[in-house]
């Protein structure tokens, strides 16, 4: 039987290489795969390029990965949060690079990476600093910028439910970037709150078909970032 389940996060991440590009699902704390991120910290891979909409909060999850010095470069749309100084401090001291991308362009670049589309044109950011030095082209009299696909070596994704084939459904707004990142990464690792038997997800309601998923870890009661931050927890 096809069965993509692995025993634990450490087993799911055993082969991450230094310098890897890692897409991490989530928008703020919604959909953030904290247990996988903590396992990535434990694993020790460094020099990472991380793609996420934000840069984490407090000193857990993504913020902890950044604080541990493992991230050489962030690709994101909004690297600020009310309760974390981790990224700003490293950025101001030039110990981390930032590629700032408008949120919709970031999403579309990741989708393009997963869909085999190497480049596309978008009207977003035309006339702004973020379009400076970029290739422009008019369509129907309107100016657009050429944007390039984003792909990754690894995607870390949090799902509400998975089955052994890797089919996924998500929890409300925790869906966000995860289905796109699952498409765009060479290896997609999922932490799922529930793991159903094969056939346990309605084929009409599958959001991420299993073809985009490589490894599934069962994390029955995932931590909530805001809860850890409130309790003053830091990782490790």
């Amino acid at each position: 039987m096809i069965d993509k389940r692995v025993a634990d996060p450490a087993a799911a991440l055993h082969d991450v290489a230094d310098g890897a590009t890692v897409m991490i699902g989530g928008f703020g704390e919604a959909g953030s795969p904290i247990e996988l991120i903590h396992a990535l910290i434990d694993h020790g891979a460094s020099g990472l390029t991380v793609v996420n909409n934000n840069t984490g909060s407090g000193e857990v999850g993504l913020a902890a990965l950044i604080r541990a010095g493992r991230v050489a470069r962030m690709i994101c749309s909004y690297p600020r949060s009310a309760n974390s100084t981790v990224f700003p401090e490293l950025y101001r001291s030039e110990r981390i690079e930032l590629e700032l991308v408008p949120q919709g362009t970031l999403a579309e670049r990741i989708r393009a990476g997963g869909a085999g589309i190497p480049g596309f044109y978008t009207p977003t950011a035309v006339g702004t600093d973020l379009a400076e030095g970029r290739e422009h082209r008019e369509f129907d009299g309107r100016n657009h910028v050429l944007e390039y696909a984003l792909t990754a070596d690894l995607a870390l994704v949090k799902a509400r439910r998975a089955d052994p084939h890797g089919n996924l459904v998500y929890n409300m707004t925790a869906r966000n970037f995860s289905p796109l990142m699952a498409m765009a990464a060479a290896t997609t690792v999922v932490q799922a709150s529930e793991v159903a038997a094969n056939g346990g997800i309605d084929p009409e309601a599958v959001v991420t078909p299993g073809i985009f998923v490589d490894r599934v870890v069962h994390i029955a009661s995932p931590a909530h970032e805001s809860d850890l931050v409130r309790r003053g927890i830091t990782y490790p």
Binding site: E29, A30, N53, Y91, V101, T122, A125, T173, N176
Partner: protein
């Protein structure tokens, strides 16, 4: 320049903007002050709220303790989902935005120029640059409204000849709701289409840095 206490409160500004939103509209309300508009949509008018992190049919904040940290809005605050809601991923969410499917977005501003340029994402300098979905919204949504105080706390006009802060979009703003007036962006500059009670056109003009005319004779489109 006078700093006499004229003009609307934040709640009143939100209520004023809410009056002009058509029944059945699909609307994205920017983080901060524009979010307040949702509370003032008039009885009988139904508006479907979009939040770019993947929800159509967003409802109000949950009662204390009823929220879910994975049901949030773009400002990362807990919200609810109304009957008829739908969840979707970010590419679909920004397809709605970029593809011109949203009727309206209301955003905050650092500056709006007389040609409709908007600056609202960066104060420049050494702040951490962070853009979020602002550039996508202004380039894709059918109508872009701004809700902002007419001047900064220091009394410096936010409606200006041309923006000094980094731009979010070029010529994108259609209408501005301030504490003093409702201002449209016309072909020749700012056009005051409504004045707050007790505020004169001259008071508005004195607090505005670009070309501005009184366009109240024109029927306000509501």
């Amino acid at each position: 320049m006078t700093s006499a206490p004229i003009g609307l409160s934040r709640d009143q500004m939100a209520a004023r903007a809410a009056q002009d939103i058509a029944h059945g509209s699909y609307v994205n309300l920017g983080i901060g002050m524009p979010e307040m508009i949702a509370q003032f949509i008039p009885e009988g008018i139904e508006v479907i709220l979009h939040t770019e992190n993947g929800l159509l049919g967003m409802g109000p904040s949950p009662a204390d303790g009823d929220g879910d940290p994975e049901l949030i809005n773009a400002g990362k605050r807990q919200v609810t989902a109304l009957p008829g809601a739908s969840y979707f991923h970010h590419a679909d969410s920004f397809a709605m935005i970029r593809g011109g499917h949203l009727d309206l977005c209301v955003l905050g501003a650092l500056e709006v120029a007389a040609n409709g340029d908007l600056a609202n994402w960066s104060t420049g300098g050494d702040s951490i640059p962070a853009v979020g979905g602002a550039m996508d919204l202004v380039s894709g949504v059918k109508a872009v409204y701004v809700m902002t105080s007419h001047c900064t706390r220091d009394g410096i006009p936010k409606l200006v000849e041309s923006c000094t802060y980094p731009l979010t979009g070029v010529g994108v703003v259609d209408r501005i709701y301030t504490d003093l007036a409702v201002v449209e962006v016309g072909s020749d500059g700012f056009e005051v289409v409504d004045l707050t009670e007790g505020v004169t056109f001259d008071e508005v003009a004195a607090r505005t840095d670009g070309p501005i005319r009184d366009a109240r004779s024109t029927e306000v489109e509501r």
